[in-house]
Structure formats: C-alpha cells, structure tokens
C-alpha cells in the first residue's frame, strides 16, 4: 500500500512502518484509513508495528489534563453491560418475546463467529423456542413471524453491520455501530434474493447509527433464509445510476432467529 502517494518529495520512503506511524498519530483519513484498518486485520507485522507506535506515543497522553466525566457515563456503561449480560441467561418459559429474541441475537452477533455459531445452535435446540424448519419448506405462517438476522463482518476489523428484519412489522433495522464515515465514500447495502435474481438496493448505510426502514413488498418477498447481503463501497450518496456498483467490501447471509 506504499507508493500510492503523489508527494513531490521523494526523500522519504513511505513503507508500512511509516503508514503505521501515520495511522497511530491519527493522520490518516478516507481510503487510506480504510486500507490501514484492513491491513491491520490481515497483516501481523503491520499490526505489530501499529501497536509499537501506539505504545511509544502513549506517554504523550500524560501531558493531557484529566477530566471528570458525568456520573451518567458509568450508569450508561453499567446499563449496557446489564442489558447485554441478561441475554446470556438460559431461555426460560415457553414463550420468548420477539423483541427479546432480536436483542439476544444482537448479543450473539457480538461474539466471534465461531462462538456465535455455537450459541445460535444452543438457541435453536433450547426447549421453548419456536420449531425450526429446514430452509425451503418453511410454512408461510412461521416465515411471516420469525425475525431474520444477518451479520455482515467488515474484514477482520471486529466491526460489523447487524441487519434484522421483523416480518410482523415489515421493518428492517440496520445497525452500523462502530463504523465511521470517511467523508469520501458511502457504503451501500444490497440484497441478493435467496432464489437468485437481480440485486436490490437497501440503501446507503448510516455509520454509527441504527436505522429502521420499512421494506417494499418486492424486496421483502426476496428476503428468505439464505438471502445474502452485500456491502459495496460507493461515491458519497450511493451508486450513481447507470454505472456498475463499487467493490464488495463485506457480505453476510440471512438466518432465521
């Protein structure tokens, strides 16, 4: 990823350790920042060097005066921890509210994918859950009630997009918490219908936010077990009409909770 920079000065080689230093200082933005994050996730040498710089720069923070945050900050942390933890408790009773199941999935999705797979398996076989049907022969009534979820991990960055579709209300929630805008690109979400067919745009993702949207019928009808989501990098505002979509940066499949 070096050498892409058109500075008039060629006296300094912009190798990976240099890029790691620039990132550690916080100088990178836009596409360079995305590239550095991607490299961090896949290149141990680069990751090591980034942390090397972080650690060396850390003492500089001693010059920053401390400040007391509001008391509500800890309350907020404790509440979020409690909410997240309570969903770890085993399912009790015969009925699990739809909302609780959605929240539980969101917690599950926060684990590593392997752990998430195990946890999901446990949920599926836990007594009291709605019967789970094999994909393809799901009765329409169940399909209409069970929420669909998809987790779209962004490389190995730990960042991800959580997408939840609640058929009862025909609403879809797109949570892009932790994602940040680079000011140069937007990311657009696409549905690849389970049975194949044309990609359908679900719109541009709002970084750092949870967005709720109502899905038109033609899109909702393509939303079944195995339907796939793609995230592409586009110019600001999303894919312009008449041009191909940008590169796919992440993908994930829908599963019924």
């Amino acid at each position: 990823m070096s050498g892409s920079d058109n500075t008039p000065d060629s006296g300094v080689q912009r190798d990976d350790p240099m890029i790691a230093a620039e990132w550690a200082l916080g100088l990178l933005e836009g596409e360079e920042l995305l590239a550095a994050r991607g490299k961090y996730a896949t290149d141990p040498d680069f990751a090591w060097r980034k942390e090397w710089w972080d650690n060396w720069f850390a003492p500089l923070t001693d010059a920053i005066p401390g400040a007391e945050p509001g008391a509500h900050v800890w309350d907020g942390i404790a509440a979020r921890m409690a909410a997240l933890s309570s969903q770890q408790a085993p399912a009790q009773g015969n009925v699990i509210a739809l909302e609780a199941r959605v929240r539980r999935w969101q917690w599950v999705a926060g684990l590593t994918s392997a752990a998430a797979a195990i946890a999901l398996t446990l949920l599926v076989f836990a007594p009291g859950n709605a019967p789970v049907q094999a994909p393809g022969d799901t009765p329409a009534q169940i399909a209409a009630a069970a929420p669909m979820v998809a987790t779209v991990p962004i490389g190995d960055t730990g960042l991800r997009l959580d997408v939840t579709y609640i058929p009862e209300s025909e609403r879809m929630l797109v949570a892009a918490i932790g994602l940040t805008a680079d000011g140069v690109h937007d990311h657009e979400l696409w549905l690849v219908p389970a049975g194949g067919g044309e990609l359908k745009s679900l719109g541009v993702v709002a970084p750092g936010q949870v967005r709720s949207m109502t899905l038109p019928d033609d899109i909702a009808s393509g939303l079944n077990d195995g339907a796939r989501l793609l995230l592409t990098q586009e110019p600001l505002g999303g894919k312009p009409a008449g041009v191909d979509a940008g590169p796919v940066v992440a993908e994930g499949d829908f599963t019924r909770v």
Binding site: D54, F57, A58, G110
Partner: protein
C-alpha cells in the same frame, strides 16, 4: 522497564493489572474497578481530541464497553495497562472525530472540567517513566517545526490537510516534513529498543 513510582502508586498499578486480567477472564465486576481508576485520564483524552463534552462522554462509554467485550486483546507483555488504555481511548476518539460530526480540538485544555480533589493517584495514571523519557528525548531531537506538527497531530487529532492549512504550506510539503520526522523518530526509538 524499571520506573520507581511511590509504593502506593505501585500498588495501584498492580491492582489495575489484576483487574485487567480478571476482566479478560470474564469477571464483569473488574470493569468498574478499571473505570474508577482510569476514567479521569481517559476522559481527559477523549475530551481533548473531541473538544465536546457529550461526544467525549459517548466515546468514553464506547471505550469501556469495547474493553469489556474484548479485554482479551490486551497483551500485558507488550504494554502497561495504562499505556494501552490511553492509546485505546485516543484511537477511539480519533475514529469518532473522523466521522466528521464533531469539529475536534475546539475546547482548549484549560477549559476542560476541573478535577475533583479526590482524583485517583496521579502517578498511577502516568505511563511508565522510562518510556516517557525516551519518547520525549526522541521527539526533542527533531527540529521545532516538525516536533510541533507531530504534537499537533497527536494532541489535536489534526489530519495532514488541517496541518498544512494551519501552517499555510502545500499538503505535500507537510507530508514530507512529518514523514521525515517520523522516520527519525523511529530510528531513535528503535535504538532505545535495542539498548
């Protein structure tokens, strides 16, 4: 590295190390201990970078929730807890700054909220003394101009473009100044690594 903090501070450091280890092993209660010990330093950092009380508090919440969820990412062999937490908090604040929603660096340091008298042991919140001396020595060896720009990037979260605009020089000039500085900084720090 052999710093010589006061005994009380050494104890507090050890307590923080223990709490980090317990958190990594799934002990949720450890997070509150870590929060009580480090919130003042970490909030100082997010406030400095973001320059907005609300944004800085939101960033601080994210820092601790993230810490709780991924405490295993901390490697005690590589960094002291406070150094790692400080870098973590600053990185999160910079990430937030790059969303473009906040202006950053808008609040001068002296306007930051004053500390309560019962502030945690200040020494404990200082990153290892030897390490601090080394980075200051290596930064100090750079020319004043370069040093100033590197510091502005670190403390104000400025990008190359902002630094170039502030200094009224072309972007490429700013990049090469800073890169030359970083190259020398790296050589100086690596020499001390090897020592």
């Amino acid at each position: 590295m052999a710093a010589h903090p006061r005994p009380a501070s050494a104890e507090a450091r050890q307590a923080l190390r223990d709490a980090m280890a317990r958190l990594a092993n799934g002990d949720q209660a450890a997070l509150e201990e870590i929060y009580r010990a480090t919130r003042v330093k970490l909030f100082g950092i997010t406030l400095r970078i973001l320059g907005d009380q609300k944004e800085a508090e939101d960033a601080l919440q994210d820092v601790y929730i993230n810490l709780w969820q991924r405490a295993d990412r901390y490697d005690p062999e590589r960094a002291s807890p406070i150094a790692w937490l400080a870098a973590f908090a600053r990185n999160r604040a910079i990430d937030r700054l790059r969303t473009g929603k906040v202006r950053g660096g808008a609040v001068p340091v002296e306007e930051a909220a004053p500390l309560p008298d019962e502030a945690p042991l200040a020494d404990m919140l200082m990153v290892d003394a030897e390490q601090a001396a080394q980075i200051h020595k290596c930064l100090g060896a750079l020319d004043d101009r370069t040093q100033g720009h590197i510091r502005a990037a670190f403390f104000d979260g400025h990008t190359y473009a902002q630094l170039a605009e502030g200094a009224d020089v072309p972007l490429g000039t700013m990049k090469s100044w800073i890169r030359r500085g970083l190259q020398r900084l790296r050589a100086c720090l690596e020499a001390s690594d090897a020592a």
